[in-house]
């Protein structure tokens, strides 16, 4: 019913994009193809004209990737890193956090998970041709939420006194928790 060119294009869309997006784009390509068939073009000519009009697969996938919510959210969350991170670095240094009763394994785990999250967000934020990679943000965001909550909880439980610097760092983490929670539903199933 469709030409091999169109069938190959549709398979590419379905392989590289989430189901809902692929279905919408596929519908658009089929409609363009049928428009050319109705105008009297042969199957092959109609297929070539439809693909030319629609844009090549690589360009279309790149455009969806560039505008993916996961890519945008990853950039926004990465941008908060230096701000929230420097608040905590200053506050923990001033409070001599190395003297707090926090087990070494908890400190190392926190650092390792934080590093993984940053790498996942960086991969999502810089993705240009892979929509799948932008979906790493949906997996990384809940972990950021947990890390921020853990930092706040550790401060509440282990800090000998709540200084102004710690208050600022806790405030920064609470702000990011709110931002992440706001972002999460927008990333679901995209």
């Amino acid at each position: 019913m469709t030409s091999p060119l169109i069938a190959g294009y549709l398979a590419g869309l379905r392989r590289r994009l989430p189901a809902g997006i692929a279905e919408e784009a596929a519908g658009g390509l089929i409609e363009t193809y049928e428009h050319h068939l109705a105008a009297g073009a042969g199957e092959q000519a109609a297929a070539r004209a439809a693909v030319a009009e629609f844009g090549d697969l690589e360009a279309v996938v790149s455009e969806f990737t560039r505008q993916a919510p996961g890519r945008r959210a990853a950039r926004m969350l990465l941008a908060t890193g230096p701000v929230v991170g420097s608040c905590w670095a200053a506050a923990l240094a001033l409070s001599r956090a190395w003297t707090w009763p926090v087990p070494a394994v908890a400190r190392v785990s926190f650092g390792a998970v934080l590093l993984l999250v940053v790498l996942a967000l960086a991969a999502a934020a810089t993705s240009r041709h892979s929509y799948q990679r932008t979906r790493l943000t949906a997996a990384a965001s809940p972990v950021i939420l947990i890390l921020d909550a853990a930092a706040v909880a550790a401060t509440a439980l282990a800090a000998p006194a709540l200084t102004a610097a710690l208050g600022t760092a806790v405030g920064a983490s609470l702000g990011r928790i709110a931002l992440t929670a706001w972002t999460l539903p927008r990333l679901a199933a995209r």
Binding site: I21, G27, G28
Partner: protein, 109 residues
């Protein structure tokens, strides 16, 4: 031609919002409306319209819903109240810009 494509890209959001001003449309119909409305001058690759509509939806300016007609499932987009407001603002700023450009490029004799 390349320069015109760049300019067009800069105004893509406004053009898409304007194409939905008279009622909901699906992606292919948006592209056809832009082509017909511009006398075939704005012939955007259809594949770039879908991602842009998705982005406008994420920004809350349009709302997409799936519907079925003639045995075919399509995603139809409609302006949200925020989309209407943005379009009104974009129209006003375009009129100001176009008037200023015309005043310079085509001064009254």
């Amino acid at each position: 031609m390349r320069a015109e494509a760049q300019v067009l890209k800069g105004h893509l959001d406004t053009l898409l919002l304007a194409s939905l001003a008279n009622g909901p449309r699906h992606g292919y119909a948006v592209r056809e409306a832009l082509r017909a409305g511009s006398g075939a001058r704005f012939d955007l690759p259809t594949g770039t319209i879908y991602p842009a509509l998705r982005r406008l939806e994420a920004a809350g300016l349009v709302k997409g819903t799936w519907s079925e007609a003639d045995g075919r499932r399509r995603r139809t987009y409609a302006l949200t109240p925020a989309g209407h407001r943005r379009l009104t603002r974009d129209r006003a700023s375009w009129r100001d810009f176009a008037a200023a450009m015309s005043a310079i490029l085509e001064p009254a004799p």
